[in-house]
């Protein structure tokens, strides 16, 4: 049975729809063809990224990182169907919850990201817009740029991007948020490595390659 499809987000690469899938609400993430690439190249890229993203979601789940459950993959239309997480992004939620809850959420995120890094996976686009909160339970999304990596450099970029995202949208609470995150992160990766990562993050920042949203 065909049901109504509702466009809820349009990114540079993919369109996100909410629709009914076997009687339950589900998310359709569809990578859209780009006219600036010749079809042979465009098809290959969308196909490869769709399967890569699904694979990364599967891999991080094994490490104890909550992600929406994948229901269906269609490489021909570069589509992933996944469970609908009914909640706001962490970025939105942080605006409206009290300080102790802010701390609690960021601490949980630290634990999740710590598990992911310990397991040798980096997210590649680590912002609080790519974390959903369903009644306090956090889910990570958008693994299109994710990769297998144990490099301190790559993990440092994840932390830096997250720090930047917190700074640019939650300026007044930024230190509280990031400290809570690091507490959770350190509880998984250990004091020594946590310190090393923090140091690396500052070093990458000094190079001035990553900037705040204009």
């Amino acid at each position: 049975m065909m049901t109504e499809r509702k466009l809820i987000y349009k990114g540079a690469e993919a369109e996100i729809y909410l629709e009914e899938w076997f009687g339950k609400p589900a998310i359709r993430k569809q990578r859209i063809p780009k006219a600036y690439r010749i079809p042979e190249l465009d098809d290959a890229i969308r196909r490869m990224r769709t399967s890569h993203e699904a694979n990364m979601m599967h891999e991080v789940r094994k490490l104890g990182v909550p992600v929406p459950t994948i229901q269906h993959i269609d490489l021909d239309s570069s589509t992933i169907m996944m469970d609908f997480v009914n909640g706001p992004t962490l970025k939105e939620e942080l605006y409206r919850i009290p300080t102790h809850a802010k701390r609690e959420r960021c601490g949980s995120l630290g634990v999740i990201v710590g598990r992911m890094h310990e397991g040798g996976i980096v997210h590649g686009d680590m912002t609080i817009s790519n974390v959903l909160s369903e009644q306090g339970k956090l889910y990570m999304i958008d693994f299109g740029l994710g990769d297998f990596s144990k490099e301190v450099e790559d993990k440092g970029v994840d932390l830096l991007l997250l720090n930047r995202a917190m700074k640019s949208t939650h300026y007044a609470f930024h230190t509280i948020l990031f400290n809570a995150f690091m507490k959770g992160y350190t509880s998984v990766v250990g004091q020594k490595h946590g310190k090393e990562m923090l140091h690396k993050m500052h070093e990458i920042e000094q190079r001035g390659r990553y900037f705040e949203r204009a």
């Binding site: 540079a12 600036y36 190249l41 686009d125």
Partner: protein, 338 residues
């Protein structure tokens, strides 16, 4: 009685293979633009010392030609601007020496210009953009930049070699003269087959070194040169187009400006035009004759800096071969492009 005062600025460019001299006015008129390009033998790249020797030989003649074509005497100049970087040390030092001498002899201010900022400013002047997302492509740069808070900020760039490097290094291996972009673009017209090559986009960044290696390997394995050129151009330009699209979505800019030597590439132009269209942005390209390195880009940027009070002294005017464009303070622009 009323006077209209016009300011004149001489600009000197010598960062790589081109020595250029130009006179512009503070109204953005380019009164002269002369240059001479050092060409290396096919199959070889720029030899920095030989290029510097070339520049030394042509410098005096080109500077006087720039003044005579502009029909002004040296004593009328308000300032002399020079590209102090980024570029090849020996080449940069020729321009710097000429500019320091002129500044000292004529007793006029010396203005240090960043070559990359020059590409951006001549692009906005000749194409008419006001607050663009800039795509700077040349032998020395492959960068995506937008203006914010007094500086041009890099939103994406190459992690290894530039788009110009990719074409020139490929050309060198097959004995074509550099700069080789136009020659490679001609060859693509005769292609009949697309060959899959590595497509590497990391966020807003691109990486071309693997593409170079793979393209050369395809050639050695017996693929037709035309097909390798076509595939390499398709993949390299599509990668940049995707990185530009991400940066455009991220910054929300409503203009895209393509500038620098590789801006003349028609395939890249058409891809970026499509990216701009997808995001309801206007698309601009630097005027053709100012895409490659030239004195006018230095003269005009020098004029903007001079009017904003940015001048240097002879002892401070040292060359900076690795001068990054985001390090330059830009007091003559506002965030809204005014």
């Amino acid at each position: 009685m009323q006077f209209t005062i016009v300011l004149y600025c001489l600009g000197i460019e010598s960062t790589a293979h081109t020595f250029g001299a130009s006179v512009v006015t503070d109204r953005g008129e380019i009164l002269s633009d002369v240059r001479d390009v050092y060409t290396s033998a096919p199959g070889t790249g720029i030899h920095p010392r030989e290029a510097a020797e070339h520049h030394s030989e042509v410098a005096a003649h080109l500077v006087s030609q720039a003044l005579s074509q502009a029909k002004i005497r040296a004593s009328k100049l308000a300032g002399v601007a020079v590209a102090l970087g980024p570029g090849l040390g020996p080449c940069l030092r020729v321009g710097a020496t000429v500019a320091r001498a002129l500044s000292s002899y004529l007793q006029i201010p010396l203005i240090a210009v960043n070559h990359a900022i020059g590409h951006i400013e001549i692009g906005t002047l000749t194409a008419g953009a006001t607050d663009p997302l800039v795509v700077l492509v040349s032998g020395g740069h492959t960068a995506i930049a937008a203006f914010s808070g007094g500086h041009w900020r890099i939103f994406g760039e190459t992690e290894d070699i530039t788009l110009g490097n990719l074409y020139d290094m490929f050309a060198r291996e097959i004995n074509l003269p550099s700069p080789a972009g136009p020659e490679i673009e001609k060859l693509t017209q005769k292609s009949t087959e697309f060959i899959a090559l590595p497509y590497v986009v990391k966020g807003n960044d691109v990486s071309y070194s693997g593409l170079l290696t793979a393209s050369l390997a395809m050639l050695r394995s017996g693929k037709r040169l035309e097909d390798v050129c076509y595939s390499m151009q398709e993949v390299s330009c599509s990668m940049l187009a995707e990185a530009v699209e991400r940066s455009l979505a991220y910054t929300g800019k409503k203009e895209v400006l393509l500038t620098g030597g590789v801006a003349a590439n028609k395939a890249l132009q058409s891809k970026l035009r499509e990216v701009a269209r997808l995001h309801d942005a206007m698309f601009y390209v630097v005027e053709g004759r100012y895409s490659g390195d030239n004195g006018a880009q230095i003269a005009w940027t020098g004029m903007l800096a001079f009017r904003a009070g940015v001048v240097t002294t002879i002892d401070q005017a040292r060359v900076r071969s690795k001068w990054r464009l985001e390090d330059v303070e830009i007091p003559w622009r506002n965030d809204d492009g005014a």
